[in-house]
């Protein structure tokens, strides 16, 4: 490796569905670093064939026990991979990743889903307390602690 800062490993996490699609839109940027992906459907593995991929349990605020399982599994993954940055586009498992990042002093980035037009998501509001940076994809929702830098579809 050349002198200077080594490239930081990124752990990118999103639930399957729209959250995952939005995360994959960032792949060209993520590919500048070594990126490990985490999602919640086995079918996601084939979409990132060149990356390390972990499948974890899907969870939401309506399935508290699965949230605990998700937290424990993600904790193990993060300890093992030791990423320099954790990034998530949601939802609950991504939030778990952000909270674990805070506990382990890892830099964390929450990108609120583009679906949240009127106000930031429930997870996003919680992420505000834990994440190093929180982004919205709508300029109207930008505030002192919520950043706006475009959307994943622009």
């Amino acid at each position: 490796m050349k002198s200077g800062k080594p490239m930081r490993k990124v752990l990118a996490i999103a639930s399957v569905g729209g959250h995952w699609v939005q995360l994959l839109r960032l792949k060209p940027i993520l590919d500048k670093n070594e990126t490990v992906f985490v999602s919640t459907h086995k079918g996601c593995r084939n979409m990132v064939p060149k990356n390390v991929y972990y499948n974890t349990v899907d969870a939401s605020r309506w399935s508290k026990f699965r949230l605990v399982l998700s937290f424990i599994h993600l904790f193990i993954i993060i300890i093992k991979e030791r990423p320099g940055v954790i990034i998530s586009t949601g939802a609950a498992p991504g939030l778990m990743g952000i909270v674990i990042g805070r506990i382990l002093f890892i830099k964390t980035i929450w990108i609120d889903s583009i679906a949240n037009v009127e106000e930031i998501s429930v997870s996003g509001k919680i992420a505000l307390h834990f994440a190093s940076r929180v982004y919205t994809q709508w300029p109207e929702l930008e505030s002192s602690n919520i950043n706006y830098a475009g959307s994943v579809f622009s």
């Binding site: 639930s15 399957v16 569905g17 729209g18 459907h41 079918g43 996601c44 084939n46 979409m47 899907d58 939401s60």
Partner: protein
């Protein structure tokens, strides 16, 4: 071809029923992704997940 997709966490059987009802009016090939559905359409098949290979 019409692509129909619903959310990943909850079913949306009403939508599938409506599409089933108007299937012959549409006159198009349907590709439908709908996990966790209780409704079984008469006129088309449902795939639970599309992954790229």
């Amino acid at each position: 071809m019409i692509f129909v997709t619903v959310g990943t966490q909850a079913p949306f059987d009403r939508l599938l029923e409506y599409i089933d009802d108007i299937f012959y009016q549409l006159g198009e090939e349907l590709v439908v992704q709908a996990p966790n559905s209780a409704y079984t359409p008469k006129n088309f098949t449902i795939l639970s997940f599309f992954g790229s290979s």
